[in-house]
């Protein structure tokens, strides 16, 4: 039964203590509750249809990067988790659950690339989410990501940012910007504005300059925009990835309601992939919205619209060689690849494609909450994306010095990859470059 291939696990307080509290009875009860109440035809049909052909394997960067070790193939991960769970009708051991949790949380980015390789279109990401849901209900979750979920629950943002801290950060960015551009404002709670701009929790915490840059862009384009001062400003969602669907629903409700209160026409969100998945695909569904109740515009689409309408002028394009990472959640998740290329070509004179690209691009291995599982799993995550490093290397050989990663998670993931494989490439958000080369008002 492939036992010898199972690796020794990484120590993690969340997984270890979670496992220690389990009993076989509790496991069986919770599993059957989830299977009974929360899954149905989709799960059954996926499991019955899989012909064990292994054709999905090459779709997964974990498999490709770990010398084609079959335990990392998409169906291989399903075999080690759901198949066994269904076979044994939930009668599995605490150790089994721990291993299943490690697979589902740290060995799959839910990037859905494999769905494009399976002839039947079996959605392994969905199956891994079912495993995560079970693990969440059993309390076996990596510590770091659970901490972010706690933060969401307590503060409605991912980073334990206090309300005054949030407002202070915006004032501070506004002040900074004012030195460069007089009269630049970051309008708070402006009712009836056209756009509500929302960001992820880590932005005010670690990357406040991104808010600054976007404020300059909004200002130069003469847009009517606002940011909420109250909870709902954070569009991120780690609950979606821990399997805490109820919390995911609460978070999205807060976010959509912030927009409704401000009576805006649309929400524009920063360069983040998972947050977009949360508002456009998973969170809205949890709340019973087929499509988000407010129009959701991801940064890539937003920039595209700006350039298309000629609202931003570029006196001189960025001249360094750049390559572009396609974040799964907005490319496979929303098809924004041509829009992002349009913008890149508008602002950069030397754009080098990495291959494979667009829908077939490899994930950064940070997504799906994997990077949020923290240091214990960092090494595995970086080693498991060797193919990404090779992809970047090839682009570098063609002259790319800068990697544009229009997604926060991708940024974090690629940073580690560039560092580990000594690629010596610069990493930028799209707005970093737009800000740098655009014509700014005085």
């Amino acid at each position: 039964m492939g036992e010898p291939l199972l690796k020794t696990e990484t120590r993690d307080i969340g997984l270890d203590t979670g496992m220690a509290k389990l009993t076989p009875e509790k496991i069986e009860k919770v599993i059957n509750e989830v299977l009974e109440n929360e899954t149905g035809a989709k799960l059954k049909v996926y499991v019955d249809t899989c012909v064990h052909c292994g054709l999905c394997s090459e779709g997964c960067h974990y498999y490709m990067s770990n010398d084609k070790n079959p335990i990392y193939s998409p169906a291989g991960k399903v075999k080690q988790t759901i198949w066994e769970i269904l076979d044994k009708k939930g009668k599995v051991s605490p150790e089994f659950i721990r291993r299943a949790a490690e697979i589902a949380y740290t060995e799959c980015n839910l990037c859905k690339r494999c769905a494009m390789y399976c002839p039947f279109g079996i959605d392994v990401a969905y199956l891994m989410l079912v495993v995560r849901r079970i693990c969440h209900k059993l309390g076996v979750i990596p510590q770091y990501i659970q901490d972010t979920a706690h933060s969401h629950a307590a503060t409605m943002n991912q980073m334990w940012v206090k309300e005054e801290e949030w407002i202070d950060t915006l004032f501070w960015q506004e002040e900074e910007a004012a030195e460069e551009i007089e009269n630049l404002r970051i309008p708070l709670d402006k009712e009836g504005a056209e756009i509500m701009y929302s960001v992820i929790g880590p932005e005010p915490k670690f990357r406040a300059q991104l808010i600054y840059e976007v404020a300059v862009i909004m200002n130069a384009a003469g847009l009517d925009w606002t940011m909420p001062s109250m909870p709902g400003w954070d569009n991120s969602d780690m609950a979606m990835y821990t399997g805490d669907n109820e919390l995911m629903g609460r978070l999205k409700k807060e976010h959509f309601e912030a927009a409704e209160r401000l009576k805006v026409k649309k929400i524009v969100m920063g360069e983040c992939g998972h947050a977009f998945r949360s508002v456009y695909d998973m969170g809205n569904r949890q709340l019973g919205w087929k499509m988000p109740p407010v129009r959701m515009v991801h940064a890539l689409e937003f920039y595209y619209e700006l350039f298309k309408a000629g609202k931003i002028k570029i006196p001189e394009k960025y001249s360094k060689g750049v390559t572009l990472h396609d974040p799964c959640n907005v490319i496979r998740g929303r098809g924004l690849h041509e829009m992002s290329r349009y913008t890149v070509n508008k602002i950069c004179s030397n754009f080098i494609e990495m291959t494979p690209n667009r829908e077939h691009n490899y994930c950064c291995c940070a997504g799906g909450g994997v990077i949020n599982c923290g240091p214990p799993f960092r090494n595995k995550r970086v080693v498991s994306d060797r193919v990404k490093a090779e992809q970047l290397m090839a682009a570098k050989e063609k002259g790319a010095e800068v990697v544009i990663a229009p997604c926060h998670n991708c940024h974090g993931g690629l940073e580690d990859i560039i560092d580990h494989y000594k690629l010596d490439m610069e990493l930028k958000f799209l707005c970093d470059i737009i800000y740098e080369v655009m014509e700014k008002p005085e």
Binding site: G40, H52, P70, I71, G76
Partner: protein, 219 residues
């Protein structure tokens, strides 16, 4: 021998067809009902145009990235599936049998062609077996049921080939041919052979999600 022959070609054949058709309808209807209850999203996001776009893509050899990445498997699996379905339906002997029993008939293929098709099925199964045994990623997924499934599929073709060529003991082979064909037919709705029934739904659904919601291609 004679009574056995009559039994296998009579009541058992009826039973096999009833189980196959009844079982298939039952499976599809019950899954649709279950989906209606538990996976409403499937209905909400189903989009005929994009479902068809995805299905057509994937039933065209070499039209997807993964088909191109695995040329041998692609050729074998397409040849296998085509022969598996076409050969039994358009085999002269089968058509004659139906004509005799129900007085309905249709066009049929020359024996030489169906003979080759049977061989293609047999050799394809050999290739699938070889793949299961040698490729680590397939081996890892393999359990004993996969071998039984393979045996179940190859048996009617191997025995049919044998009987047609009147090789040694062909009378027995003939009975085994009918029996194994009936077993396979009846097993379709209740084993992983049901991918035959479900494929359009799984492919169509992911095609709908990718096409209509995500605005992306899925091949």
């Amino acid at each position: 021998m004679h009574t056995l022959y009559n039994f296998v070609s009579g009541p058992l054949a009826w039973l096999a067809f009833i189980i196959f058709f009844g079982g298939s309808i039952y499976k599809i209807v019950s899954m649709m009902k279950l989906a209606k209850k538990k996976d409403t999203a499937v209905y909400e996001y189903w989009d005929g145009y994009y479902a068809l776009r995805s299905i057509l893509r994937w039933i065209t050899p070499f039209a997807t990235v993964n088909w191109r990445k695995n040329p041998v498997m692609t050729v074998v699996t397409f040849a296998f599936h085509i022969c598996l379905v076409i050969a039994p339906i358009f085999l002269c002997a089968h058509v004659l049998l139906v004509k005799e029993a129900f007085d309905i008939s249709w066009w049929y293929l020359p024996d030489g062609v169906t003979d080759i098709m049977a061989l293609i099925v047999i050799f394809s199964c050999g290739y699938f077996l070889y793949r299961r045994k040698t490729k680590a990623e397939v081996k890892f997924l393999t359990s004993s049921s996969d071998y039984w499934l393979l045996l179940m599929v190859v048996a009617p073709f191997a025995t049919g080939f044998w009987a047609y060529h009147q090789l040694f003991g062909y009378n027995l082979m003939f009975i085994l041919h009918m029996l194994s064909g009936e077993i396979m037919l009846a097993a379709i709705p209740f084993t992983r052979l049901s991918h035959m029934l479900y494929a359009i739904f799984t492919r169509g659904y992911i095609g709908s999600e990718f096409g209509a919601v995500r605005h992306a291609r899925d091949w």
